[in-house]
Protein backbone atom coordinates (compact mmCIF):
# COMPACT_ATOMS: atom_id res chain seq x y z
CA UNK A 1 0.00 0.00 0.00
CA UNK A 2 2.71 2.43 1.06
CA UNK A 3 4.84 1.60 -1.99
CA UNK A 4 1.77 2.27 -4.19
CA UNK A 5 1.32 5.69 -2.60
CA UNK A 6 5.00 6.42 -3.01
CA UNK A 7 4.94 5.29 -6.64
CA UNK A 8 1.91 7.43 -7.52
CA UNK A 9 3.28 10.51 -5.75
CA UNK A 10 6.53 10.13 -7.67
CA UNK A 11 4.52 9.97 -10.89
CA UNK A 12 2.49 13.03 -9.92
CA UNK A 13 5.69 14.88 -8.99
CA UNK A 14 7.33 13.98 -12.30
CA UNK A 15 4.22 14.94 -14.25
CA UNK A 16 3.94 18.33 -12.56
CA UNK A 17 7.62 19.10 -13.14
CA UNK A 18 7.12 18.19 -16.78
CA UNK A 19 4.10 20.47 -17.02
CA UNK A 20 5.58 23.32 -15.00
CA UNK A 21 9.19 22.47 -15.88
CA UNK A 22 9.50 25.69 -17.82
CA UNK A 23 8.72 27.79 -14.75
CA UNK A 24 12.32 28.99 -14.98
CA UNK A 25 11.32 31.43 -17.72
CA UNK A 26 8.58 33.22 -15.75
CA UNK A 27 10.62 36.40 -15.26
CA UNK A 28 11.94 36.27 -18.82
CA UNK A 29 8.41 36.05 -20.18
CA UNK A 30 7.37 39.05 -18.07
CA UNK A 31 10.35 41.00 -19.42
CA UNK A 32 9.58 40.01 -23.00
CA UNK A 33 5.89 40.92 -22.82
CA UNK A 34 6.71 44.25 -21.13
CA UNK A 35 9.24 45.03 -23.87
CA UNK A 36 6.71 44.30 -26.62
CA UNK A 37 4.12 46.49 -24.91
CA UNK A 38 6.64 49.32 -24.56
CA UNK A 39 7.55 49.33 -28.25
CA UNK A 40 3.96 48.95 -29.42
CA UNK A 41 2.98 51.88 -27.17
CA UNK A 42 5.95 53.93 -28.38
CA UNK A 43 5.31 53.46 -32.08
CA UNK A 44 1.50 53.52 -31.97
CA UNK A 45 1.28 57.24 -32.74
CA UNK A 46 4.66 59.00 -32.60
CA UNK A 47 3.27 62.40 -33.59
CA UNK A 48 0.57 62.42 -30.92
CA UNK A 49 2.90 61.08 -28.23
CA UNK A 50 5.90 63.21 -29.09
CA UNK A 51 6.34 64.64 -25.60
CA UNK A 52 6.31 61.25 -24.00
CA UNK A 53 8.55 59.35 -26.40
CA UNK A 54 10.18 61.60 -28.99
CA UNK A 55 11.02 64.97 -27.45
CA UNK A 56 13.95 65.56 -29.81
CA UNK A 57 12.40 64.60 -33.12
CA UNK A 58 11.23 67.14 -35.67
CA UNK A 59 7.63 67.76 -36.78
CA UNK A 60 8.50 66.66 -40.29
CA UNK A 61 9.92 63.34 -39.12
CA UNK A 62 7.03 62.48 -36.84
CA UNK A 63 4.24 63.55 -39.19
CA UNK A 64 5.66 62.46 -42.53
CA UNK A 65 8.17 59.68 -42.01
CA UNK A 66 6.76 57.58 -39.18
CA UNK A 67 3.75 55.33 -39.86
CA UNK A 68 1.31 54.54 -37.04
CA UNK A 69 0.52 51.30 -35.19
CA UNK A 70 3.66 49.30 -35.74
CA UNK A 71 2.97 45.83 -34.34
CA UNK A 72 4.92 42.84 -33.03
CA UNK A 73 6.01 41.07 -36.23
CA UNK A 74 6.72 44.37 -38.02
CA UNK A 75 9.59 45.17 -35.66
CA UNK A 76 11.83 42.42 -37.06
CA UNK A 77 13.02 44.62 -39.94
CA UNK A 78 14.70 47.04 -37.56
CA UNK A 79 14.32 50.77 -38.05
CA UNK A 80 12.72 50.23 -41.47
CA UNK A 81 9.60 49.23 -39.51
CA UNK A 82 8.81 52.85 -38.71
CA UNK A 83 10.72 54.90 -41.24
CA UNK A 84 8.89 55.30 -44.54
CA UNK A 85 11.99 56.49 -46.37
CA UNK A 86 14.11 53.74 -44.90
CA UNK A 87 11.56 51.10 -45.89
CA UNK A 88 11.55 52.36 -49.49
CA UNK A 89 15.32 51.95 -49.71
CA UNK A 90 15.11 48.57 -47.99
CA UNK A 91 12.47 47.28 -50.43
CA UNK A 92 14.50 48.49 -53.39
CA UNK A 93 17.66 46.70 -52.31
CA UNK A 94 15.63 43.57 -51.61
CA UNK A 95 14.73 43.34 -55.30
CA UNK A 96 18.22 41.94 -55.75
CA UNK A 97 19.69 41.36 -52.28
CA UNK A 98 23.51 41.22 -52.29
CA UNK A 99 23.50 38.29 -49.87
CA UNK A 100 22.01 35.80 -52.36
CA UNK A 101 25.34 34.63 -53.73
CA UNK A 102 26.61 33.96 -50.23
CA UNK A 103 23.71 31.63 -49.46
CA UNK A 104 24.90 29.51 -52.40
CA UNK A 105 28.49 29.69 -51.16
CA UNK A 106 27.32 28.66 -47.68
CA UNK A 107 25.41 25.74 -49.15
CA UNK A 108 28.56 24.65 -50.94
CA UNK A 109 30.51 24.78 -47.67
CA UNK A 110 27.89 22.58 -46.02
CA UNK A 111 27.40 20.02 -48.78
CA UNK A 112 31.13 19.53 -49.27
CA UNK A 113 31.78 18.88 -45.57
CA UNK A 114 30.86 15.49 -44.10
CA UNK A 115 31.95 16.83 -40.71
CA UNK A 116 29.40 19.66 -40.75
CA UNK A 117 26.67 17.40 -42.09
CA UNK A 118 27.38 14.99 -39.25
CA UNK A 119 26.98 17.68 -36.58
CA UNK A 120 24.02 19.43 -38.23
CA UNK A 121 21.92 16.89 -40.14
CA UNK A 122 19.03 19.37 -39.96
CA UNK A 123 20.11 22.88 -40.89
CA UNK A 124 16.81 24.60 -40.04
CA UNK A 125 18.11 25.35 -36.54
CA UNK A 126 18.68 29.10 -36.81
CA UNK A 127 15.89 29.82 -34.30
CA UNK A 128 17.15 27.48 -31.59
CA UNK A 129 20.45 29.20 -30.82
CA UNK A 130 21.84 30.33 -28.39
CA UNK A 131 20.89 27.61 -25.91
CA UNK A 132 22.01 26.88 -22.36
CA UNK A 133 23.81 23.56 -21.98
CA UNK A 134 23.09 22.19 -18.53
CA UNK A 135 25.80 19.59 -19.05
CA UNK A 136 28.48 22.22 -19.69
CA UNK A 137 26.99 24.94 -17.53
CA UNK A 138 27.32 27.56 -20.26
CA UNK A 139 25.66 29.10 -23.30
CA UNK A 140 26.33 27.68 -26.76
CA UNK A 141 25.90 30.06 -29.69
CA UNK A 142 25.60 28.92 -33.31
CA UNK A 143 29.12 30.14 -34.07
CA UNK A 144 30.56 28.27 -31.12
CA UNK A 145 28.67 25.10 -32.10
CA UNK A 146 29.96 25.29 -35.68
CA UNK A 147 33.55 25.80 -34.60
CA UNK A 148 33.44 23.04 -32.00
CA UNK A 149 32.10 20.73 -34.71
CA UNK A 150 34.98 21.63 -37.01
CA UNK A 151 37.62 21.27 -34.31
CA UNK A 152 36.24 17.87 -33.25
CA UNK A 153 36.40 16.81 -36.91
CA UNK A 154 40.04 17.90 -37.04
CA UNK A 155 39.29 20.87 -39.30
CA UNK A 156 40.29 24.49 -38.94
CA UNK A 157 37.65 26.59 -37.14
CA UNK A 158 36.26 29.69 -38.87
CA UNK A 159 36.62 33.35 -37.92
CA UNK A 160 33.55 34.03 -35.75
CA UNK A 161 32.63 37.35 -37.35
CA UNK A 162 32.84 37.11 -41.12
CA UNK A 163 33.91 35.06 -44.13
CA UNK A 164 33.07 31.37 -44.21
CA UNK A 165 31.29 31.44 -40.86
CA UNK A 166 28.94 34.14 -42.13
CA UNK A 167 28.42 32.33 -45.45
CA UNK A 168 27.59 29.03 -43.75
CA UNK A 169 25.24 30.71 -41.28
CA UNK A 170 23.56 32.54 -44.18
CA UNK A 171 22.71 29.17 -45.73
CA UNK A 172 21.48 27.63 -42.47
CA UNK A 173 19.42 30.66 -41.47
CA UNK A 174 17.94 30.97 -44.97
CA UNK A 175 16.81 27.34 -44.78
CA UNK A 176 15.33 28.05 -41.34
CA UNK A 177 13.46 31.00 -42.83
CA UNK A 178 12.16 28.89 -45.73
CA UNK A 179 10.93 26.28 -43.24
CA UNK A 180 8.87 29.01 -41.57
CA UNK A 181 10.49 28.59 -38.16
CA UNK A 182 10.42 31.09 -35.32
CA UNK A 183 12.90 32.19 -32.67
CA UNK A 184 12.48 29.57 -30.00
CA UNK A 185 14.89 30.08 -27.11
CA UNK A 186 14.32 28.03 -23.98
CA UNK A 187 15.12 28.64 -20.33
CA UNK A 188 14.74 25.26 -18.63
CA UNK A 189 16.87 25.38 -15.50
CA UNK A 190 17.92 27.70 -12.70
CA UNK A 191 21.41 27.96 -14.17
CA UNK A 192 19.94 28.96 -17.54
CA UNK A 193 17.74 31.54 -15.84
CA UNK A 194 20.80 32.95 -14.04
CA UNK A 195 22.65 33.21 -17.35
CA UNK A 196 19.64 35.06 -18.81
CA UNK A 197 19.65 37.47 -15.84
CA UNK A 198 23.37 38.17 -16.25
CA UNK A 199 22.86 38.92 -19.95
CA UNK A 200 19.97 41.21 -19.06
CA UNK A 201 22.02 43.11 -16.48
CA UNK A 202 24.81 43.60 -19.03
CA UNK A 203 22.31 44.92 -21.58
CA UNK A 204 20.94 47.55 -19.23
CA UNK A 205 24.20 48.61 -17.46
CA UNK A 206 25.81 51.85 -18.51
CA UNK A 207 29.47 51.39 -19.38
CA UNK A 208 32.37 52.79 -21.31
CA UNK A 209 33.79 56.21 -22.00
CA UNK A 210 30.39 57.35 -23.25
CA UNK A 211 28.58 55.73 -20.31
CA UNK A 212 25.99 54.16 -22.56
CA UNK A 213 24.12 50.93 -22.06
CA UNK A 214 22.72 48.90 -24.96
CA UNK A 215 19.31 50.07 -23.72
CA UNK A 216 20.27 53.76 -23.89
CA UNK A 217 20.09 53.48 -27.69
CA UNK A 218 17.93 50.46 -28.36
CA UNK A 219 15.22 50.69 -25.71
CA UNK A 220 14.88 54.24 -24.40
CA UNK A 221 16.60 55.62 -27.52
CA UNK A 222 14.82 53.55 -30.19
CA UNK A 223 13.35 55.88 -32.79
CA UNK A 224 15.67 58.75 -32.03
CA UNK A 225 18.19 59.97 -34.52
CA UNK A 226 21.98 59.81 -34.14
CA UNK A 227 23.72 61.77 -36.89
CA UNK A 228 21.89 60.61 -40.03
CA UNK A 229 20.64 57.26 -38.84
CA UNK A 230 17.69 56.21 -36.70
CA UNK A 231 18.27 53.94 -33.73
CA UNK A 232 16.67 50.51 -34.08
CA UNK A 233 14.80 48.68 -31.29
CA UNK A 234 15.80 45.61 -29.27
CA UNK A 235 12.64 43.74 -30.32
CA UNK A 236 13.53 41.81 -33.45
CA UNK A 237 17.25 42.58 -33.21
CA UNK A 238 18.42 38.99 -33.50
CA UNK A 239 16.04 37.47 -36.07
CA UNK A 240 17.93 38.40 -39.22
CA UNK A 241 21.57 37.45 -38.66
CA UNK A 242 23.93 37.00 -40.44
CA UNK A 243 23.27 40.38 -42.04
CA UNK A 244 24.70 41.98 -45.15
CA UNK A 245 25.68 45.43 -44.01
CA UNK A 246 26.26 47.87 -46.86
CA UNK A 247 28.95 49.56 -44.78
CA UNK A 248 30.91 46.30 -44.47
CA UNK A 249 30.43 45.54 -48.17
CA UNK A 250 31.91 48.88 -49.11
CA UNK A 251 35.01 48.20 -47.03
CA UNK A 252 35.63 44.69 -48.34
CA UNK A 253 37.75 44.23 -51.46
CA UNK A 254 35.35 41.61 -52.84
CA UNK A 255 32.24 43.48 -51.74
CA UNK A 256 31.48 40.77 -49.14
CA UNK A 257 29.45 42.60 -46.52
CA UNK A 258 28.12 39.60 -44.58
CA UNK A 259 28.74 39.52 -40.84
CA UNK A 260 27.52 37.57 -37.83
CA UNK A 261 25.64 38.96 -34.86
CA UNK A 262 28.87 38.84 -32.84
CA UNK A 263 30.51 41.14 -35.37
CA UNK A 264 27.79 43.72 -35.00
CA UNK A 265 27.50 43.53 -31.21
CA UNK A 266 31.26 44.02 -30.78
CA UNK A 267 31.05 47.03 -33.08
CA UNK A 268 28.26 48.52 -30.98
CA UNK A 269 30.11 47.97 -27.72
CA UNK A 270 33.23 49.62 -29.13
CA UNK A 271 31.04 52.62 -29.98
CA UNK A 272 30.21 52.96 -26.28
CA UNK A 273 33.92 53.56 -25.61
CA UNK A 274 34.59 50.08 -24.20
CA UNK A 275 36.87 47.18 -24.91
CA UNK A 276 34.30 44.64 -26.15
CA UNK A 277 34.08 41.15 -24.60
CA UNK A 278 35.56 38.43 -26.80
CA UNK A 279 33.16 36.64 -29.18
CA UNK A 280 33.30 33.39 -27.21
CA UNK A 281 33.32 34.90 -23.71
CA UNK A 282 30.50 34.25 -21.24
CA UNK A 283 29.61 37.97 -21.29
CA UNK A 284 29.04 37.92 -25.04
CA UNK A 285 27.17 34.60 -25.07
CA UNK A 286 24.92 35.53 -22.16
CA UNK A 287 24.18 38.91 -23.72
CA UNK A 288 23.14 37.17 -26.97
CA UNK A 289 21.05 34.66 -24.98
CA UNK A 290 19.11 37.50 -23.36
CA UNK A 291 18.74 39.45 -26.60
CA UNK A 292 17.56 36.45 -28.61
CA UNK A 293 15.03 35.43 -25.93
CA UNK A 294 13.53 38.92 -26.23
CA UNK A 295 12.74 38.09 -29.88
CA UNK A 296 11.04 34.75 -29.14
CA UNK A 297 8.05 33.95 -31.37
CA UNK A 298 9.25 36.25 -34.15
CA UNK A 299 9.95 34.57 -37.48
CA UNK A 300 13.57 33.85 -38.31
CA UNK A 301 14.05 36.10 -41.33
CA UNK A 302 17.76 36.10 -42.08
CA UNK A 303 19.92 36.79 -43.93
CA UNK A 304 18.89 40.40 -44.37
CA UNK A 305 20.18 43.81 -45.48
CA UNK A 306 21.12 46.63 -43.21
CA UNK A 307 22.89 49.89 -43.90
Amino acid sequence: MLSKIIKSSIIVALASTAMYGSSFNVQAEKDRKALIKYFEDKFADPDKNRNRFFPYSTDDELKNNMPKNVKFEDFAIGNYAWSIQGKEQYDEINEMPPYEDYIDIGEEIYTSSKVLQGCFPDVTIGGDYPYFSDKRGEIVTLGVAINECLTAGKQKPFNMKKGKMAHLQAYMVFQTREAGKKTNIKISSQAASDAYERGKEYYYSQKGYLKLSCASCHVQGAGARVRNENLSQLLGHTTHWPAFRLKWGGKNVNGDGLGTVERRVQGCIKDEGQVPPSVTSNEMKELLYFMTYMSNDLNVDGPDIRK
Binding site: E95, M96, P98, E100, D101, V253, G255
Partner: protein, 101 residues
Protein backbone atom coordinates in the same frame (compact mmCIF):
# COMPACT_ATOMS: atom_id res chain seq x y z
CA UNK B 1 39.79 34.33 -67.73
CA UNK B 2 36.74 32.94 -65.95
CA UNK B 3 34.00 35.51 -65.47
CA UNK B 4 31.10 35.36 -63.03
CA UNK B 5 27.57 35.02 -64.32
CA UNK B 6 25.06 37.84 -64.16
CA UNK B 7 22.13 37.23 -61.81
CA UNK B 8 18.92 38.05 -63.69
CA UNK B 9 15.35 38.44 -62.44
CA UNK B 10 12.63 39.30 -64.92
CA UNK B 11 8.91 39.80 -64.31
CA UNK B 12 6.29 40.20 -67.02
CA UNK B 13 3.11 42.21 -66.41
CA UNK B 14 0.62 43.66 -68.91
CA UNK B 15 2.98 43.36 -71.87
CA UNK B 16 5.95 44.98 -70.10
CA UNK B 17 8.87 42.99 -68.72
CA UNK B 18 10.87 44.52 -65.84
CA UNK B 19 14.41 43.15 -65.75
CA UNK B 20 16.71 43.42 -62.73
CA UNK B 21 20.27 42.28 -63.32
CA UNK B 22 23.33 42.15 -61.09
CA UNK B 23 26.54 41.79 -63.09
CA UNK B 24 29.70 40.67 -61.30
CA UNK B 25 32.82 42.64 -62.05
CA UNK B 26 35.41 44.37 -59.84
CA UNK B 27 35.35 47.43 -62.16
CA UNK B 28 38.84 48.67 -61.35
CA UNK B 29 39.14 52.34 -62.21
CA UNK B 30 42.59 53.70 -63.08
CA UNK B 31 43.13 55.14 -59.61
CA UNK B 32 41.90 51.99 -57.82
CA UNK B 33 43.98 49.69 -60.03
CA UNK B 34 47.08 51.69 -59.20
CA UNK B 35 46.35 51.49 -55.45
CA UNK B 36 45.64 47.74 -55.50
CA UNK B 37 48.47 47.05 -57.98
CA UNK B 38 46.21 45.28 -60.49
CA UNK B 39 45.45 45.82 -64.16
CA UNK B 40 42.88 48.52 -64.85
CA UNK B 41 39.72 46.76 -66.04
CA UNK B 42 36.01 47.50 -66.27
CA UNK B 43 33.00 46.55 -68.40
CA UNK B 44 33.07 48.57 -71.59
CA UNK B 45 29.88 47.33 -73.24
CA UNK B 46 26.82 45.42 -72.02
CA UNK B 47 23.67 44.45 -73.84
CA UNK B 48 20.44 42.55 -73.23
CA UNK B 49 18.81 40.66 -76.08
CA UNK B 50 15.50 38.89 -76.53
CA UNK B 51 15.15 36.66 -79.60
CA UNK B 52 18.21 38.28 -81.11
CA UNK B 53 16.83 41.85 -80.71
CA UNK B 54 18.67 44.28 -78.46
CA UNK B 55 16.32 45.58 -75.75
CA UNK B 56 18.92 47.37 -73.65
CA UNK B 57 22.52 48.40 -74.16
CA UNK B 58 25.08 50.41 -72.31
CA UNK B 59 28.57 51.63 -73.20
CA UNK B 60 30.33 52.11 -69.92
CA UNK B 61 33.60 53.10 -68.33
CA UNK B 62 35.21 53.73 -64.95
CA UNK B 63 32.13 55.53 -63.61
CA UNK B 64 30.13 52.30 -63.41
CA UNK B 65 30.01 50.83 -59.92
CA UNK B 66 31.52 47.55 -58.77
CA UNK B 67 29.07 44.66 -59.39
CA UNK B 68 26.71 46.98 -61.28
CA UNK B 69 23.00 46.60 -60.70
CA UNK B 70 20.77 47.39 -63.68
CA UNK B 71 17.03 47.78 -63.89
CA UNK B 72 15.16 48.34 -67.14
CA UNK B 73 11.86 47.60 -68.91
CA UNK B 74 10.99 46.47 -72.43
CA UNK B 75 7.86 45.38 -74.26
CA UNK B 76 7.65 41.61 -73.92
CA UNK B 77 5.97 38.58 -72.34
CA UNK B 78 6.28 35.81 -69.84
CA UNK B 79 8.58 33.10 -71.14
CA UNK B 80 10.91 35.48 -73.02
CA UNK B 81 14.50 34.36 -72.82
CA UNK B 82 16.67 37.35 -71.87
CA UNK B 83 20.36 37.07 -72.76
CA UNK B 84 22.73 39.53 -71.08
CA UNK B 85 26.29 39.72 -72.35
CA UNK B 86 29.17 42.03 -71.65
CA UNK B 87 32.78 42.58 -72.61
CA UNK B 88 35.47 44.32 -70.58
CA UNK B 89 38.60 46.37 -71.28
CA UNK B 90 40.89 43.34 -71.23
CA UNK B 91 38.64 41.39 -73.59
CA UNK B 92 36.92 39.07 -71.09
CA UNK B 93 33.33 38.19 -71.94
CA UNK B 94 30.31 36.85 -70.15
CA UNK B 95 26.90 35.75 -71.34
CA UNK B 96 24.09 34.81 -68.97
CA UNK B 97 20.43 34.10 -69.57
CA UNK B 98 17.14 33.78 -67.79
CA UNK B 99 13.43 33.49 -68.62
CA UNK B 100 10.86 36.14 -67.77
CA UNK B 101 8.30 34.95 -65.22
Amino acid sequence: MATKKTRIKAKAKNGIVTVMALAKHPMYSGAEAKKLKVKQNFITYLKAEVSGKIVYEVTSSQFFSKNPYLKFKYKGNKGDEIVISWVDLLGNKNTSKSKAK
